[in-house]
Symmetry: C2
Subunit: 451 residues, 2 copies
């Protein structure tokens, strides 16, 4: 068969798939961080259309034409059959990978960035704010805002701003304003700088600055790149394409494998398939969420109520969490260091529809290099975690002689992560055990929620 | 119409197109650098199949199956219609771009890298050597050798090795050995280091080291990434695809625009179209080779005999040249700094089938940013030179009301060139006039060739 299964632009899904229509038990509500009462996303920060999507039970939500037109710049993305990796492993398994790295921003993030910019613009908003760690989300939203016609201000964690300038430059090339956080532009930023002028910042501080900025201006909203339901919804364009592509190859996955940080990339791939599991059409389908050992939210974190953000200002969600004050070790997969997890993923894990597995950083890079040397593409460190598990499963197939279909969610390329590859190749990469004691401490800080 | 015109894997051309079959006057010979007699490429350095291709008059040369299978990892590449750029310019012109940046190595270079590795392997060679400046060619050949199963040693100009580590890491990830040049691994390297232990190297030194290494070992050959005929031949897979794609859009270009350094990318796109101009089928087709003002080989250099390399060891070719000792100013488009030009391009220019134009660096980056903000893709600095001319021509169409079809050769992405974008965006980018006096000096060093 072909190396790539491609679709035409006419075959791009015209709706997002909303898993909330098919859940056997509804999602628990979000709670207000102060009152602990059920709440929506804060209206001063989010477009009402996005808030509607957040709680909608409609099975399909139409993708606006303007968003679809922009999607066509990189969608449909290719589905590859990993012939060369299979051969190198000597496995009878068929490995497929859905590759989002062909987007100009280099990952799946653009799928929701364009959609969020669109709905905000439609409601009269002129400007978005957001935070970014290494810059993956900030750069995607920069392109999204440029193409829809919104201003964007990105608060970038100072240590990344200083050490990893490439994604900052990418944001600026697409017309966004990017400042190091803590910044002089917000009250909280000024307060932190007054206490420590050399603060290297944190994602928590950057979130607080982006929110303060958006709340303070009528023309501005805030934007999130993962975790919440509407972001996962927008990413289902990926999984629906993958399903069509596998149909063309006359295949259905036995195992779907991807990495989870906030969870939007992988949920975007598997939610359309989970439907088949819920309805009993494909009861044996395995879905493996892969996390770093350094931040094993679903494998080790309790399923409990916790704040979505470090500062305790965001809504409280029922989810697996390592505690909102938990700061994971500095693994290179910056996108996999969130303390919590998308409530949809946690709900599906609790109901037994999906499973989770944690892997170490060094074997992850070993798998990434094997992938690059057989398939060509240099994977980002985040999906490299999933590649490690794909290889493990493919080797099990070799041992058992089973010809399973494995689908990998390859969320992006690693062109801006070559420093991490260098550390691995030169034998300098460190690994990190699960920081059990730190998690225990962080779990003491959970919010008190009445039963 | 669609944003992208895509082909299936079955539509990848199965032969390369050889312009030598259709030239109204044959190409002048290569001359031996010592005897000044007609010569082939040095047999101790090049596979005989590549030497045959270098001088073949066969119109079509079959692409080996193994090469085609590897091409399928990224080929056929998409042809885009630049709807958003057209709209931003308000032009009636239709702008199409053929994008080679989807290859894992990020440019067209992989098309010849895989082919060269294949033919060398077939003739029993175990190992290739090459030089690289910023690393574009070195990284492509690293992937090519890894996939065909050859060792590769890359001599990388030390200043790039130290300042731009990303492409070095990419080479190592694909399994190549990369050393800074001058190195301790060759006689010439040791000699230069003995004289100046802090030498930052040059492309000339790196070429000399790679050649010395390959000559000294029976298992090794040397590999070139541009300029020579067989490299241009391998790149014609790009132009043949573009022609099929334009046919599907019911379009034929009025103007084809691309950048030229050694010339292989752009010739690869236009040679299949030049055929139509030679045969009189499309006499009005304009083909514009774009160069930097800092190194305007075809626009300013005389058409004369010169060495292919700085050291005067390589064969002598009849071409436009600024003199083999000419060192151009440090423009960011490292791939456009060669003193000479592919003899095929110079021959076609002399016969009047193609034209050339030189542009400045700052307006080039201005055009690149406009492109990124309308089409999403961040272009490499090299093809950004062509984008500048595409925009100029599209604006002329706006003024005249002509609905011309413009085809842009977009040879690669700029993910590893963001430092240059940063300089442009922060207003720190310098520009360079044509260094007329330096060229005059260099042209005094031309080899003496009997009439």
């Amino acid at each position: 068969m072909d190396t790539k299964i491609i679709l035409t632009e006419k075959e791009i899904p015209t709706s997002w798939y909303n898993i909330q229509a098919d859940l056997p038990e509804p999602l628990p509500p979000l709670l207000h961080p102060g009152t602990k009462e059920p709440t929506i996303l804060p209206p001063p920060l989010f477009a009402s259309a996005l808030n509607e999507q957040e709680f909608s039970k409609e099975r399909y939500i139409e993708i606006p034409d303007e968003v679809l037109e922009i999607y066509k710049l990189w969608r449909p993305t290719p589905l590859f059959r990993a012939h060369r990796l299979e051969k190198a492993l000597g496995t009878p398994a068929h490995i497929y990978y859905k590759y989002e790295g062909v987007s100009p921003a280099g990952s799946h993030k653009l799928n929701t960035a364009v959609a969020q910019a669109y709905y905000n613009k439609k409601e009269g908003i002129k400007r978005l704010t957001t935070e970014t760690g290494a810059g993956q989300w900030g750069s995607a939203l920069s392109m999204g805002c440029q193409f829809i016609g919104l201003e964007l201000k990105v608060y970038m964690v100072r240590v990344s701003y200083d050490q990893k300038p490439y994604r900052r430059i990418l944001m600026e090339t697409w017309g966004a304003t990017c400042v190091p956080s803590p910044s002089e532009d917000t009250e909280i930023g000024r307060k932190i700088l007054a206490e420590d002028p050399n603060s290297t910042g944190s994602l928590g501080i950057a979130i607080s600055e982006a929110i303060e900025d958006a709340i303070g201006r009528d023309d501005s909203h805030y934007s999130l790149g993962s975790v919440v339901n509407h972001v996962l919804l927008h990413q289902t364009v990926v999984g629906q394409e993958a399903m069509k592509q596998l149909e063309k190859a006359d295949a259905y996955p036995d195992i779907i494998i991807g990495c989870i940080g906030g969870g939007s990339n992988f949920a975007g791939v598997y939610l359309p398939f989970v439907k088949d599991k819920i309805t009993g059409k494909k009861p044996d389908l395995r879905i493996i969420n892969v996390e770093p050992q350094a931040c094993p939210t679903v494998t080790k974190g309790p399923y409990t109520w916790d704040f979505g953000d470090v500062a305790g200002m965001a809504p409280i969600a029922l989810m697996n969490t390592l505690g909102h004050t938990f700061v994971p070790p500095p693994v290179h997969a910056g996108g996999l260091r969130y303390h919590g997890m998308a409530p949809i993923i946690c709900h599906l894990a609790k109901l037994g529809f999906v499973e989770a597995q944690a892997v170490y950083q060094i074997p992850t890079f070993e798998a990434a290099v094997k992938f690059a040397r057989t398939e060509g593409i240099l994977p980002a460190p985040e999906p490299a975690h999933a590649i490690k598990v794909v290889i493990d499963e493919a080797i099990k197939c070799k041992e058992s002689g089973e010809k399973k279909n494995i689908l990998l969610a390859l969320s992006g390329h690693g062109h801006f992560d070559l420093g991490a590859y260098d550390q691995y190749l030169s034998g300098k990469l460190e690994d990190y055990e699960y920081p059990e004691e730190k998690v225990k401490e962080a779990l003491k800080q959970l919010p008190q929620v009445p039963a």
